[in-house]
């Protein structure tokens, strides 16, 4: 099993969710984050003082899937998030050793989906 972590632009959350639903991936967890990457950020001014903002608002999605679903998931995310502009984001794939569903105490593949 894998844990897919994706950082995307906030405004893309809805379209990513839709692509995932189309790919029949219904489970995910979302947090918001600040990201620093190739996208340079922008300058804010407050009371005429200029501040460089290089921590930009990003959405972080976490999806645990069984190995066979990894590709499908990644594709769906890319489809939903890609706009060909700097700042589109990144996907990280990490190994997961075990998944447990709290309600039923089921383990492994059966608990992921």
């Amino acid at each position: 099993m894998k844990l897919i972590i994706a950082y995307i632009q906030p405004e893309k959350l809805n379209s990513v969710k839709q692509e995932l639903f189309k790919a029949e991936i219904y489970k995910m967890s979302v947090t918001n984050a600040l990201g620093c990457g190739q996208q340079k950020g922008y300058t804010e001014t407050y009371r005429n003082v200029v501040n460089e903002v290089n921590l930009l608002k990003k959405i972080r999605i976490e999806i645990a899937v069984s190995d066979s679903f990894v590709d499908k998931t990644v594709k769906a995310i890319i489809k939903g998030a890609k706009s060909n502009q700097i700042g589109d984001g990144k996907i990280f794939i990490l190994p997961v050793e075990e998944v447990i569903r709290i309600r039923s105490e089921e383990h492994g593949e059966i608990a992921v989906g």
Binding site: P10, E11, K12, L13, N14, N32, Y42, T43, E44, T45, Y46, K57, I59
Partner: protein, 486 residues
């Protein structure tokens, strides 16, 4: 963009500086209480003030501040004049405070990422509006045409030059600002800031004063016996119809109307970000409305003010109550933001008839307003598919019209202009329609020109990220974690 703004400021400023700013040349109102100064100019009255003792006191022999004997008649006049000044200053200040109410309601009912922008609009429409109303607006609204009130427009007293009616001006400028500020809510979350400034200059300087002149400035509608005590039509409908035109010409916010898989258009709720602020705003507006309606007696000696307070209270309460009931029935839950709208709808509706209907009629007027606002929001949003984030059109335009009509339906004819009931209803309807036509046409032209010359709407990217960063370069809630994707 800077240039536009800069020339705007310069324009206002040079206009102002064109006349001498030194006090010697432009004599200030005398600070002593004399009857001449205090007698409220009847021409500026929303409705011709009822004959009160006051007006019989105009004959004075001397000014009295040089130590000569002052007659009792003159003193009476000074008392009633001073009471009127106190009354209008305080109620006028309450009306000013309504700006805070509008700012809070509109901010609360829109998203966090646009909060700075909407605050700035609400502040600047008062600032721009009061200056332009001083320079020209007041002259168009309450000025004379030659020796008497023009039928369609006034044209004198610019910059309070010939008259020195500071008391009336103060009370009127806060009304003008109310009218302008209504529009910002309907156009929220997508309008260019600089375009908004231009719009507000024109509505406060031209559109509002002219239709205002027809009704309160002695123009043709007032001559026909059209009655709008505190401005359901003059103030609220004018703002509301301009809001309608603005919202149409802007188009809906991104994400408001989305196509689902089957290509059917679905309406999505874009929730406001701060209900306590919105509720506070409504309480402030309601509070200020006592100034708005009661102060419109324009006379501290006119005891109808207490009657007005009662009808205002009851209509607002019924508006909120019935709007809550309506949304409870429709969506199975009593919705907070619609209930808030309901209170405002009741207030708008009672604004025209507050002095000429009974408390019981006020209950009915408010109740109908409460239902009307809910149905109107449904209609505007779901049928017409016009995106009005705060419900400004339904609250101010629709209920402004309803309240104006209610004068004809429920009003005490004896207090109106001796027309029969149907005739009075007809006159009220005529007023509603002509103001509608005037505002829709002029504001369409205005927004059309702005759209062509400067553009009306921010870029998609700016809209998605929020106007606070795009237009003002900073955020409203620094440090808070906010899901801005919504």
């Amino acid at each position: 963009m800077n240039k536009i703004l800069f020339s705007l400021s310069l324009f206002l400023f040079t206009l102002g500086a064109g006349t001498s700013v030194f006090a010697e040349d432009a004599p200030v109102t005398s600070v002593t209480a004399t009857a001449e100064v205090v007698a409220p100019a009847p021409a500026t009255a929303p409705t011709p003030p009822p004959e009160v003792t006051l007006s019989t006191d105009k004959v004075i022999a001397e000014t009295g501040d040089d130590g000569t004997v002052v007659s009792q008649t003159e003193k009476n006049s000074a008392f009633s004049g001073s009471l009127t000044a106190v009354w209008l200053l305080i109620t006028g200040s309450l009306v000013f405070f309504m700006q805070a109410g509008f700012a809070m309601v509109e901010t609360g009912l829109t998203r966090a990422k646009n909060a700075n922008n909407i605050l700035m609009k609400n502040l600047m429409d008062f600032c721009v509006g009061s200056v332009i109303f001083f320079l020209v607006g007041w002259g168009f609204m309450y000025g004379k045409m030659g020796l008497e009130a023009g039928k369609f427009i006034g044209f004198s007293d610019f910059m309070l030059s010939s008259s020195n009616d500071t008391m009336s001006w103060f009370f009127q400028v806060v009304f003008a600002a109310t009218s302008a500020t209504i529009v910002s809510g309907a156009m929220a979350e997508r309008t260019k800031f600089v375009s908004y400034l231009v719009y507000t200059l024109v509505i406060s300087g031209l559109i509002y004063p002219i239709s205002g002149h027809w009704i309160w400035g002695g123009g043709w509608l007032s001559q026909m016996g059209f009655h709008d005590f505190a401005g359901s039509t003059v103030v609220h409908s004018v703002g509301g119809w301009a809001a309608l035109v603005g919202a149409i010409m802007l188009g809906p916010r991104i994400g408001k109307y989305v196509k689902d898989e089957k290509g059917k258009i679905r309406v999505r709720a874009i929730q406001g970000h701060n209900m306590p602020l919105a509720a506070l705003g409504v309480f402030i507006l309601w509070f200020g409305w006592y100034g708005f309606n009661c102060g419109s007696t324009l006379n501290g000696m006119d005891l109808s003010m207490t009657h007005v307070a009662v009808t205002t209270t009851l209509a607002a309460s019924m508006g909120a109550l019935l709007a809550m009931t309506a949304t409870w029935l429709i969506s199975k839950k009593p919705d907070v933001s619609m209930t808030l709208n309901g209170a405002l709808a009741g207030l708008v509706a009672i604004t025209a008839p507050c002095a000429v209907v009974s408390p019981t009629a006020a209950l009915a007027i408010g109740a109908i307003a409460g239902v009307l606002v809910v149905l109107s929001v449904e209609f505007v949003e779901k049928v017409l598919r016009i995106d009005d984030p705060v419900g400004a059109v339904s609250v101010h335009a629709v209920n402004g019209a309803w309240g104006t009509l209610a004068v004809g339906i429920f009003g005490d004819l004896a207090k109106l202009s001796n027309h029969g009931r149907l005739e009075q209803i007809g006159i009220q309807a005529l007023g509603i329609v002509s103001v509608f036509a005037w505002v829709v046409i002029t504001s369409f032209i205005l927004f059309f020109i702005i759209k062509k010359v400067i553009g009306l709407r921010v870029t998609e990217k700016e809209e998605l990220r929020g106007l606070d960063i795009g237009e003002h370069g900073s955020e409203a809630y620094n440090g808070f974690q906010i899901f801005s994707n919504m």
